[in-house]
């Protein structure tokens, strides 16, 4: 980026940082500029990567099959007017059908079977087995916590209680190790301001 562009980026960076003090015209300007620019970029990318290749170019090359997605797309635009809104349900039904159909086997494989396959790996040798037992205990107690059809009472209640402790440790660990990632992003922005914009730090 040349000088002017770096300055504009730096000013917008400061506009966003101003939100930390409180909501103010600078932040509100950055917000509205961002909403418009992002919407525009998404529309342009969708046209270049989806509509042009799948509809415009296919129809131009005589592939009549491309009229179907075009028709469904126009059905969606039917929502712009009150009387044509009901016909848009056909395109929505198709879309929801596609992604529900994809979701069932992929969630079953990635979230259910993959986790269970990991869980049934044989215990590690030696004293590492303690870790395997702890993992099994944690797994079963958190599953007990999430059980819906029975109240948290008696043995089930005790297991659920142990499950809460495992959840709290997991949340603490997850929170703790996310701090570094967020800090990295802030360091990058402050480095950008100090070095590229204000030239207080030497260029690399």
């Amino acid at each position: 980026m040349n000088g002017v562009e770096t300055w504009i980026a730096a000013i917008l960076t400061i506009c966003v940082f101003s939100f930390l003090y409180r909501d103010n015209p600078l932040y509100r300007f950055a917000e509205h500029l961002f909403v418009g620019s992002a919407a525009g970029y998404l529309l342009a990318v969708q046209y270049q990567n989806v509509i042009k290749p799948n509809v415009v170019e296919r129809i131009a090359s005589g592939n009549m099959l491309a009229f179907i997605p075009l028709a469904m797309g126009l059905l969606v635009l039917g929502r712009l007017w009150e009387k044509t809104t009901p016909i848009s349900r056909w395109a929505i039904a198709f879309y929801v059908g596609i992604y529900s159909g994809i979701a069932i086997p992929s969630y079953l494989q990635a979230q259910v079977f993959a986790q269970l396959a990991d869980a049934v790996k044989p215990f590690e040798p030696g004293w590492h087995a303690i870790n395997s037992v702890l993992i099994l205990l944690g797994f079963l107690s958190v599953v007990a916590y999430f059980f819906f059809s029975a109240p948290h009472k008696g043995v089930h209640g005790a297991a659920a209680r142990v499950g809460i402790w495992f959840l709290m440790i997991a949340f603490g660990a997850s929170f703790g190790y996310t701090v570094m990632a967020r800090a990295s992003l802030l360091i990058d922005r402050v480095l950008f301001l100090l070095r590229d914009a204000l030239h207080v730090l030497p260029a690399i």
């Binding site: 190790y177 701090v179 570094m180 990632a181 992003l185 402050v190 690399i204």
Partner: protein
Amino acid sequence: MAAKRPGGWAARLMGLDRRIIFALIFLATGLPLLFPVNLPITPSPRVRAAFDTVDRQPPGTYVLMSLDYEPDIKAELQPMAIAVLRHCFRKGLKPIVLTLYPAAPGLIERALVIAGTAEGKKRNEDYVFLGYKSGSQSVILGLGESIRQMFPNDFWGTPLDKIPMMKGKNSFADFPLVINLSGSSIADYYIRIAATRYQRPMVLGATAVMATDYYPYLSSKQILGLIGGMKGAAEYEKLMDITGDARRGMDAQSLIHVTIAILVLLGNLALFLTGGFRPGGSGGSREGTGR
């Protein structure tokens, strides 16, 4: 000043205006960048394994480098890319660089210029930049068949056949080493396709949040080294004996983490003084922790 009830400052501390916390975090970031302390960095075994894997390649070895990250998360992966590129150049390796992210080419071009000038290497002689191609998984599968089908030209439009360096380089088989720096599931595609199906030795660089999910692939030898987040990049810079943005940032990382930890401890000290702790827990209401 009249002796205040001990709860006075504690109560005030409990309700501390968060803008004071924001100011502290800002200082904890800016000061170490302006006045570096250079706390010691000890490279972890995972990063050393990645470094050694690159280091033991004989000069002239071709390396396929896929750098897949958007500007939003360049903080952790851009310094890592520069450090690894400089290592390849210093060892006389020949990196062929590509990306599967639409907004990444500008970033990678800058990384190549920085690393290239630092080690005195030139485009199309010491490295080739193939640019961006959409369709992440299908492109990686395509690289197994023919690079030229996926990337007929390099990033600046020169046909691959006109670049002497690319002669005889057609698919994964021609690359003894694959390096992927990624902030998303693209890492899984490379592990499944390049490392497992085509048996390519592979080094992975990932963001800090993602890195822990890939420890199992390291123990199963599907990847030979793992560089995690800004800390991993700083360790790689330490092994390279260079000071890049990652090492510059590590002091700030430490100070930010310490600042948050001290704030939390102070908050609890204040809670203790104002008698807020109820030993024995408050029954099952987990939401109580949120207030």
